[in-house]
């Protein structure tokens, strides 16, 4: 038995027509056919179908009474439109048109010219403004060059004399007729004053280009002791430039974590950690959840307690391949290095015989910049750089809070499974507490119970220790 090939009748829910056809969805015959068939029917009424499409319409009409009815209606509408009377022109327009041409003095091509003029009309004011701006700019440049060139060294000296700080006599004793012996004393005295570090051009001799050197020595003053390098002003022939300053080397360091087992690399790494009090470590891994598993094991081995934020707990439980962050304070460079080495060791253990399971390879060590601190503030809800108020009493209890409150909170956290603190296997209290968060800067969870718990348990940092933000970059 042959089955019908085309399904003609359809429901409005299958209608994929655009928003402009919303009128037809509510009711009416048109809404009962899919849009493709309706397009065929309207094009059929227009007489703009190919022979193949016409055959398709014929089949459609043969099978669907709705299509037949809609086509009849569309054809009737078109017929009525065609039959609408053609209203006669009330009056001949020839004379009015020619009169208008004469009165308005129109000419062929005038409209195009007018359009061009309209299109470029906006350029007039713009050109005026541009010209005015250019003239002002040139005047400014010319004035600057004129005054810069015409300003005599004497005037500059007078200006320098009017400025507060050491006098010109202090700066140029020879020119004021002082003796050489007194000269040296004056020079030494002037060097002792902070403002005297600024070199100024001589009032008599033409100014020379002074090149700043890293060692602070000056090529034209071999007898003079080298001046301190910082806050030195660089002088060009005419213009006084901003003082050059040394900036700390903030370039990150890339280290293969397993190389930390080597003595020399380890010592270099520890030395690097000793250069600052805050670091951000980026640990790229293929699976954040698996990498965190290594961190957990390493922390347990090294007696580091982990406070895991609820959001992070959920992700770990579901083994989500997301990024995690571990924040720890008051650790020495050696302790942090030991943790990293242990993480690498746990990774090797977990990936033994399965190289694809290895998560830890290299890490990027960078000093904690203002941007990193801001990032940390977003995650924690507070700036950890702010000193901890010494509210806790001698026994570590906060006298501002009742013991009942603290106990109730801890019991509640224990019952709800929050605030997981992993105790080391030995049962000893943890040497350090680290906070684990999901690394989600878009939807952070500052102010969570776990973060509060961590922040409340913070202690004033010891000298020589640092804070570290370890990012496990293992998002899928």
């Amino acid at each position: 038995m042959r089955r019908p090939r085309a399904v003609v009748i359809c429901y409005p829910s299958r209608d994929r027509q655009g928003a402009g056809a919303s009128l037809f969805r509510a009711k009416g015959l048109a809404s009962m056919l899919v849009d493709r068939y309706r397009q065929l029917l309207t094009a059929y009424v227009d007489g703009e179908l190919s022979s193949r499409q016409r055959r398709h319409v014929a089949r459609l009409l043969h099978r669907s009474p709705e299509a037949r009815q809609l086509l009849r209606q569309l054809q009737a509408d078109s017929h009525v439109l065609r039959q609408l009377p053609r209203p006669p022109l009330p009056s001949d327009l020839t004379s009015p048109v020619l009169r208008s041409i004469a009165e308005r003095r129109l000419a062929p091509g005038q409209r195009r010219l007018a359009q061009t003029a309209a299109a470029t009309a906006w350029m007039g004011p713009l050109a005026s403004w541009a010209t005015a701006a250019a003239v002002l700019f040139l005047l400014g440049v010319a004035s600057y060059l004129y005054f810069a060139a015409s300003l005599e060294p004497e005037v500059k000296t007078e200006m320098a004399q009017q400025q507060p700080g050491p006098s010109v006599a202090d700066l140029h004793p020879k020119e004021q007729g002082t003796t050489p012996a007194k000269d040296d004393k004056t020079q030494m005295a002037s060097r002792d004053q902070p403002a005297a570090k600024i070199d100024r051009p001589s009032a008599v001799n033409p100014p020379k280009v002074v090149t700043h050197r890293g060692d602070g020595s000056k090529p034209n003053a071999p007898d003079k002791p080298p001046s301190p390098p910082k806050d030195e002003t660089a002088l060009t022939d005419r213009l006084e430039m901003f003082p050059l300053k040394r900036v700390p080397d903030l370039l990150p360091v890339v280290v293969k974590v397993s190389d930390l087992d080597g003595e020399s690399v380890r010592q270099q790494f520890i030395a690097e950690l000793g250069k600052d009090s805050g670091f951000r470590l980026e640990l790229p891994c293929t699976n954040g959840a698996k990498a965190f598993d290594r961190v957990q094991k390493a922390a347990r081995t090294l007696h580091i307690g982990l406070i895991i934020d609820k959001q992070a707990q959920e992700r770990i439980k579901l083994k989500w391949r997301v990024n995690y962050v571990l924040y720890v304070e008051d650790v020495t460079p050696e302790e942090l290095t030991r943790l990293l080495r242990q993480i690498a060791a746990e990774d090797r253990k977990s990936a033994a015989g399965k190289p694809a399971e290895a998560q830890i390879d290299r890490l990027v060590l960078a000093r904690m910049t203002a941007r990193h601190r801001k990032e940390l503030s977003v995650l924690l809800g507070v700036d950890p750089a702010i000193p901890i108020p010494s509210a806790a009493g001698p026994l570590g209890a906060d006298p501002r809070k009742s013991l009942a409150d603290a106990t109730a909170r801890q019991v509640g956290q224990a019952l709800s499974g929050q605030g997981v603190t992993l105790r080391p296997e030995s049962g000893k209290p943890p040497e350090h507490i680290a906070l684990v968060l999901a690394y989600n800067l878009v939807r952070p969870s500052p102010g969570s119970d776990e973060i509060k718990h961590f922040l409340e348990g913070r202690k004033p940092v010891r000298a020589g220790t640092l804070r570290a933000l370890l990012v496990l970059r293992g998002g899928g």
């Binding site: 009416g28 009377p85 053609r86 048109v97 129109l106």
Partner: protein, 189 residues
């Protein structure tokens, strides 16, 4: 383009306005019919046609003769009519909001705009005129061009300066929208 049209245009460009008068006389009736169905008002239709001729005269040197002169003229007229209808629709919307009532564009009361034809007087004719007047200017234009002028998709695309696919879809929507409006009108009546 016919050779006669070409000759007349050349004369116009040489400054002979009388030659343009011949072109006006030749095409004004046909142009008026189409424009009248677009604006549904005799006075507006006359104004649109007159303005279209004046615009055409001023742009005559830009006419390259690639298409029929009437097609070119018709394009100018249709665009002028659509612009006029858009303005009217905007004003009608403002009035509707002001009064808080739904208003349909009122039929032109002037006698000249209501030719005494039997179909025009019939219920069916009145209904379709009202439905047509409620269509958007773009939809109305394609229906008038197709059903009343008998233009092909290709010519319509050239006149409206849109792709043929746009003409096809506009006509499709216009026909279905007209059908829906007529069904509503039948149910209300």
């Amino acid at each position: 383009m016919s050779a006669d049209d070409q000759r007349l245009i050349a004369e116009c460009l040489q400054g002979d306005t009388a030659a343009f008068g011949v072109l006006v006389r030749r095409y004004q009736e046909r142009l008026y019919h189409s424009v009248y169905r677009l604006v549904e008002n005799a006075e507006d239709a006359q104004d649109v046609v007159q303005e279209a001729f004046l615009n055409a005269y001023q742009s005559l040197d830009g006419f390259k003769g690639d298409a029929l002169f009437f097609t070119w003229l018709y394009r100018i007229a249709v665009n002028t009519a659509i612009s006029l209808k858009r303005k009217h629709r905007a004003m009608a919307r403002l009035e509707t909001r002001k009064n808080g009532e739904h208003t349909i564009e009122p039929p032109d009361p002037s006698a000249s705009s209501r030719p005494e034809y039997a179909l025009e007087q019939s219920e069916q004719g009145t209904r379709i005129r009202q439905a047509l007047s409620r269509l958007s200017p773009e939809h109305r234009a394609v229906l008038v061009m197709k059903d009343m002028e008998g233009q092909k998709y290709e010519t319509m695309a050239e006149i409206l300066q849109v792709p043929i696919g746009t003409i096809r879809s506009r006509l499709h929507r216009a026909r279905l929208e007209l059908r829906e409006l007529l069904e509503q009108s039948e149910q209300e009546g």
